[in-house]
């Protein structure tokens, strides 16, 4: 499941990307990305901790991308907000943990199935970057106009 938080994070980051290198204050970002301002601050804090956003305080301050959009993988981005992509922990590569009630994970049919699912998800998300999302937005946006 994609939480609101991750959805907002995605919107915030694409907005920052489109804004160029200049810092954008939180309240302006909130308006443009359509995210509740106080909640956005929590999210920006997460994104900063994860190294996606750099912030500057004081007048003329604001938030900007810490690295170029093509270096921000969507899989990792979503992981940093929502946790592992796998539907179940025992099928996660990045955060594996066996089910407490599972006698033998290697023989678990559910795990095999869910590993395929997790790989399918990762195949989509880990192959794309924020740049792809920005481009998508421009194209779609232009068509709408």
């Amino acid at each position: 499941m994609l939480t609101m938080k991750a959805k907002y994070a995605l919107r915030a980051l694409t907005t920052l990307a489109r804004h160029g290198g200049k810092p954008l204050p939180a309240h302006q970002l909130a308006e443009r990305a359509q995210v509740p301002e106080s909640f956005l601050e929590v999210i920006l804090s997460d994104l900063r901790r994860a190294g996606y956003v750099a912030s500057k305080r004081g007048l003329q301050g604001g938030h900007q991308l810490a690295k170029p959009p093509e270096q921000i993988g969507l899989g990792d981005l979503i992981r940093s907000i929502d946790g592992p992509l796998a539907p179940i922990r025992c099928a996660s590569l990045t955060a594996y943990r066996a089910c407490s009630d599972c006698p033998d994970p290697d023989a678990c049919a559910t795990r095999v199935l869910m590993t395929d699912v997790r790989n399918a998800i990762s195949d989509v998300l880990d192959r794309r970057t924020l740049r792809d999302q920005v481009e998508l937005e421009s194209i779609r946006g232009d068509l709408a106009a």
Copy 2:
């Protein structure tokens, strides 16, 4: 996310499939499938409502599959317990609903992305049936023995 409930449901159904056509009482099923008995009853109720399980009361009663394993699609099964497969409602085919804050779903980059994810998930789950899971279990189980 795959909930415990869905995981248990999967285990219960494969157990029923392996048991053949005969009805299996809930407490025996609980034991074999390693599911808390009282919780299992809730799950069986869902599965019955969804048409996967037929139950008979009284002595010699129990639960059995309502249709052959190869006719039980894993996608639909999981949907019936956990809801839509899509990570976000606006990307669901079977249960579409636009985000309340989305000005134009057709121009939403997040939705495009998540639609690809939902298709990837569905490609895995909607192509398999309970039969595949049962076979997987036999193979893996045999190897372990």
